[in-house]
Amino acid sequence: MTEQTQHTRKWPIILAAVFIAVGCAAWICQLTMGLLVGSGMSNTFAWGLMIAVFAFLVGFGAGSQFVASYIVLANRKDLMPYVKTAQAVALAGAIGAGVAILIDLGHPAHIMAMITGPNPTSALTWDMIALTVFIVIAIINVIAIARNSKALKFWMVLGLISAFALQLVEGLLFALMEARVWWHSFIMPVDFIVVAVVCGLAIAVIACALKKDEFKPEALHDLSFLLAVAIIVHLVLAVIELAIVCFGGSAADGGALAAIGSVWLFYALELGLPLAAVFVLLLGKKDPAKSMLIGGVLTVVGMFFHRLMLLYPAFASPTLYVPLSNVASPSWPLPASTGLYNHTGNAFEIAQGYIPNFVEWVSMLLPLGVALAVFLVVIWFVAKVGKPAAEASGTQDIIEAKETVEVSEPADDPEVVEVKEALVEQERGEGR
């Protein structure tokens, strides 16, 4: 390994460690100072940045599981080298999301109450069960990949089902809230599944573009095309979601629209960035890898705004509208107690905006750092455990996939020589 490779292998570890340390410090601040000064939330805007991060990470987790399962079950040998990365992102995203939810709790010391007496009618209970099952199956899949297990296909089917269930429950967690018009529609669970596919493919597109030499151009093209299609489906669902509120006609629908208007830039970015990604992915033929990189990054950033926009129209708008009792009149929202009197002096507000404060932004680094650390551990583990198994069997799919790349081109083709060298170098690196 060259000195430079050693450096490139070290910086993600350092980054993960710094993220975890700094994020932990911010969380401790929140625990000791309280969320009044440790966040920008209020009684009316009761879920903030950490819930957006939770949904963001869980989307990448489930989505990458979709991609990993697809590659194995559809026997896409041309994409097989990406499987272990996809599975690592799946596990990392889910564990990072679990950490985000834990950090968000106001009184984590009572967490045992959830284990000793879970309420079966709560979607949050089912969410925790779905997340735990997903993580367990993802761990088994990591081991199955590393050991080139014969049962890999079976576990990948379970992985697919668990990812689907996780996103469904996730969507229902929001959609069942009748009080929030922005969430209360059948679109929410469907879109949660589609957004996970978008996220999983976006990461796949970025990762494969970065290692373009390991894949045939057709495989890369397929990934780009699949991502573009998934984004289009998501955008159609987003437009239907908006139409439901636009044509809902109730005062609460009007409130949600006004809330969207107050953060129109976020909404524009939520829709505009993935749309731009579609054009880049489909039209950027000159340098496909570069287009994939740009399209993937635009999508990931767009999905972050999408997750933030889960919150604004739902919380920055009142839920209850009251008319006069004895005469036909319009309905008006009643101010609610913000809980912020000690902080801002505002006791009651009709609707409360939300700007995540500095501590919240920094605490976001903890789940992201944990996700990165899990990712690195999985990659290391697969390389460590996988190498002897691969050598012993000599038949594993991932090796076969690499051979496919090799035999599909004339041996003296300089590009193939480059690919071979890259693979050899990668295997050497993984073995260490």
Binding site: H107, A113, S325, N326
Partner: protein
């Protein structure tokens, strides 16, 4: 037995005594209000709103509606929010993990979160405390404590510490206009059943299907104009 409350909008004068006495008797930390009174549509509190060319003013006190079909209870992952034998919806402070899912589920925006450590009010003796002075447990659940734990949710309990001992909620005792009537809605002889007998009533947010047990008797002022 089903505890319920009737609020007579003809009697309410919007003095907000109920909100203040509630805060006092239940030792609500600063910034936390279980009970609030507002005038729908009015740009400022206690001002009128023009409807069909005529000025109108109405006061709507609002606290937990003790929904029979309570979404807050349904979503609470730990069962910290539960309904007792009297139909009162309560929160066990020792089981609440502070996930705030119940806040997102309640359409009435009455749930309050302890965003910070409660900072008591200092009196002349340097130790002034207000509110019911002791913990109150119901079947082992801690449903009232004068010094709240940080990071848990709280809301109106129909003053469980009083009603379970035969009393009535502080807001009913304190209302100078006798606009609030409390009692067992299943007992035809109770004060609330007698008061509501033969009268029209409405509930807030009916479309949510929550089946509130706080009933509003519509105002008759201005009728027949």
């Amino acid at each position: 037995m089903r505890y319920a409350m009737a609020i007579d909008l003809d009697r309410c004068i919007g003095c907000r005594t109920c909100a203040v006495i509630c805060k006092d008797h239940n030792a609500e930390p600063r910034g936390i209000w279980w009970n609030r009174v507002f005038s729908p549509g009015a740009p400022e509190y206690g001002t009128s709103v023009i409807v069909d060319g005529a000025p109108r003013m109405e006061f709507v006190p609002i606290s937990c509606q003790h929904c029979e079909n309570a979404p807050c209870q349904q979503v609470c992952p730990t069962g910290a929010t539960y309904t007792d034998d009297t139909g009162t919806v309560l929160v066990d402070y020792e089981k609440c993990i502070g996930c705030r899912y119940c806040i997102t589920a309640c359409p009435y925006e009455v749930r309050q979160f302890n965003w910070s450590k409660p900072d008591g009010v200092e009196g002349v003796d340097g130790e002034y405390r207000w509110g019911y002075p002791e913990d109150y447990r119901q079947d082992g659940h801690l449903v009232y404590t004068p010094v709240r734990p940080e990071g848990v949710v709280e809301k109106c309990t129909f003053c469980a510490q009083y009603t379970n001992q035969g009393g009535i909620p502080a807001c009913c005792t304190g209302c100078p206009a006798n606009a609030r009537i409390f009692g067992d809605i299943e007992d035809p002889e109770s004060e609330i059943s007698q008061y509501m007998s033969g009268r029209e009533w409405l509930v807030l947010g009916e479309s949510f299907g929550t089946k509130p047990k706080v009933y509003y008797l519509p105002s008759t002022r201005g009728e027949g104009e």
